[in-house]
Amino acid sequence: MNLEEILIPTEVAQAGMSFGDALAECVKQNVPGIPFVDGEGKIVGRFSLRHAFRLTCVPRDYIQGAHLLGDDLDYMDMAEEKAEMILPQPVEGYVLEDAIQLNPGAQVMKALAIMEQFNTGYLFLTDGDEYKGVITRVGIARLVLNLGCC
């Protein structure tokens, strides 16, 4: 199985880009995160939807007490003014420093193992310093289905 078959090419996030732009790229490509690169184009981090939402919308106490929250707490919805406040923010404030990368020649089992080890559902494929795109666990599932076996 070739990981490049499930590669999703994306734009990269970089300094000067807004939170909204990075979010839009994730939505457009249907990926959970994109790389963050420095001025020389080297991957130095990642913009992750999970991390971004954790920083902007889900305080720690909500996470710990999530199972205690009722469904009728209407004011817990994302407020329009909050979204308007967050979207123009610079993306740099929402970047995680770790960016797990994999060579396109790596095997699927290794990709899955690395996803498990780093508790993530996606990885960046890079050929040397060249960024190729994102692979996701859903993509690997598609590969497996295409093989007709598991």
Partner: protein, 434 residues
């Protein structure tokens, strides 16, 4: 009186350097304590005033094992959801009243802290408190500070409520009941006074009620009902044994291990998860301190120091004054530095006074009150305070952040007030403490 020897000087120097390293936080306190212990033993053997056998004997195994057993019991209780369940009902009973919520939350945390580790209690309750305050649109700052301060005070009431108490109780061979009998009444007075003072100091933040009553739901609060029942039975056994341990000549550590053994047999927990719940760093920190102070004791320095104090404390009329001085010095030091090193150092000094004919019983209680109450003065005075501060920062709620200055604005008057109350109680009922 013995002369000041080279070994006394060297052991004192090692102790001072180790404590300076601990308080400077240049090195993790456990690393500093282990380093200090290794140097003390090595130098002690070289200068022939301290042996490896003495160093091992200096570690109070009753304290270390009791702490370890209680940590394991807490790590079995925590995932069951018992604390979350309590938080749900506290919110309901408060009915949106800001003051009642503070009293109920503080009372719950204080009562739990009398039996279980107060740091764990605050770790669990702090995020729940922020969540409750968010629901009720209240500033969590008064609640977080009150929980930390009152859990520190509540923990001072029992033998197992606070690590210094464990050490004092173990060294002084004080039973759980004796501890509760002597420390319970002053702690109740101090606790009630502190709650009233906090309600006054936070009156602006609490002027309005929460308005609309919003509640947490208890449907999924308990995550493991069968586990909860088993751990509660085990904890009940432990607490029951604490009340009678002296009749059976059980060490408190053994009483805790009886309950732990029952819990392990009933719950069959994953051992890796269980042992991950033990704060090994704290246990090794304490062991290191015991070894460092053991070296100073073996050099004869503490005996020399104790003899000087004995001159003052031997006079019955001066004993009250000595107790009050000890309480206030312990409190002031505990406000700015970790109270454990001070307690570990004071224990052999107080024990040494006994051989000089001093009635040391009042000094144990004075020390316990001082180190128990002093930690509230600053945000670094107790671990529970640091947790409350961290949670206030994580909440990102405007006005909720507890800065060091904000803590001291409330903490210093609260500590002074509680020390005055404790001193009055100690003086008025001094016969109880004799």
């Amino acid at each position: 009186m013995a002369d000041f020897s080279d070994s006394m000087l060297v052991s004192a120097l090692i102790l001072v350097l180790a404590y300076a390293l601990i308080f400077s936080e240049k090195l993790h306190r456990t690393s500093a304590a282990i380093l200090g212990a290794v140097v003390m033993i090595g130098v002690g053997m070289g200068m022939d005033f301290y042996t490896q056998e003495e160093a091992i004997a200096a570690v109070d195994a009753n304290t270390i094992l009791l702490l370890a057993a209680m940590m394991m019991l807490v790590s079995l209780l925590r995932p069951t959801g018992a604390f979350e369940y309590m938080a749900v009902y506290i919110t309901r009973w408060a009915k949106g009243d800001a003051r009642l919520l503070l009293i109920y939350l503080s009372l719950a945390v204080s009562l739990i802290s009398m039996v279980l580790d107060n740091v764990t209690t605050v770790i669990v309750f702090a995020p729940l408190t922020v969540l409750i305050c968010r629901l009720l649109r209240l500033n969590p700052m008064p609640y977080l500070m009150a929980e930390a301060m009152l859990s520190n005070i509540g923990g001072a009431a029992t033998l197992v409520g606070d690590p210094p108490n464990l050490m004092i109780g173990s060294a002084g061979k004080i039973s759980f009941n004796d501890f509760l009998f002597h420390m319970g009444p002053p702690v109740v007075v101090v606790w009630a006074g502190t709650v009233l003072l906090l309600l006054f100091l936070f009156r602006k933040q609490m002027r309005r009620g929460a308005g609309e009553v919003r509640e947490l739901v208890d449907t999924h609060a308990i995550k493991d009902l069968a586990g909860l029942q088993k751990i509660l039975v085990s904890l009940a056994l432990v607490v029951g044994l604490f009340f009678v341990h002296h009749h059976f000549h059980f060490f408190p550590a053994y009483a805790a291990f009886v309950g732990l053994a029952l819990a392990l047999a009933l719950m069959k927990p994953d051992m890796d998860v269980l042992f991950n719940g033990v704060n090994w760093s704290v246990l090794f920190f304490f062991a290191g301190l015991f070894m460092i102070v053991g070296g100073v004791e073996a050099s004869g320095l503490l005996n020399l120091f104790g003899n000087s104090l004995a001159e003052m404390a031997r006079e019955p009329g001066q004993l009250l004054l000595a107790g009050l001085m000890l309480m206030w010095i312990a409190a002031v030091l505990s406000a700015v530095v970790d109270n454990i090193p001070f307690t570990v150092t004071m224990i052999p000094i107080i024990l040494g006074l006994e051989s000089s004919g001093v009635n040391i019983a009042p000094l144990w209680w004075a020390l316990a009150l001082g180190v128990g109450l002093g930690g509230n003065g600053t945000h670094i005075g107790a671990t529970a305070n640091i947790i409350a501060v961290a949670e206030s920062e994580h909440s990102n709620i405007p006005g909720a952040r507890i800065t060091p200055a904000a803590w001291m604005r409330i903490g210093i008057p609260t500590t002074f007030f509680s020390l005055i109350l404790a001193s009055l109680f100690y003086s008025l009922f001094f016969d109880i403490f004799r």
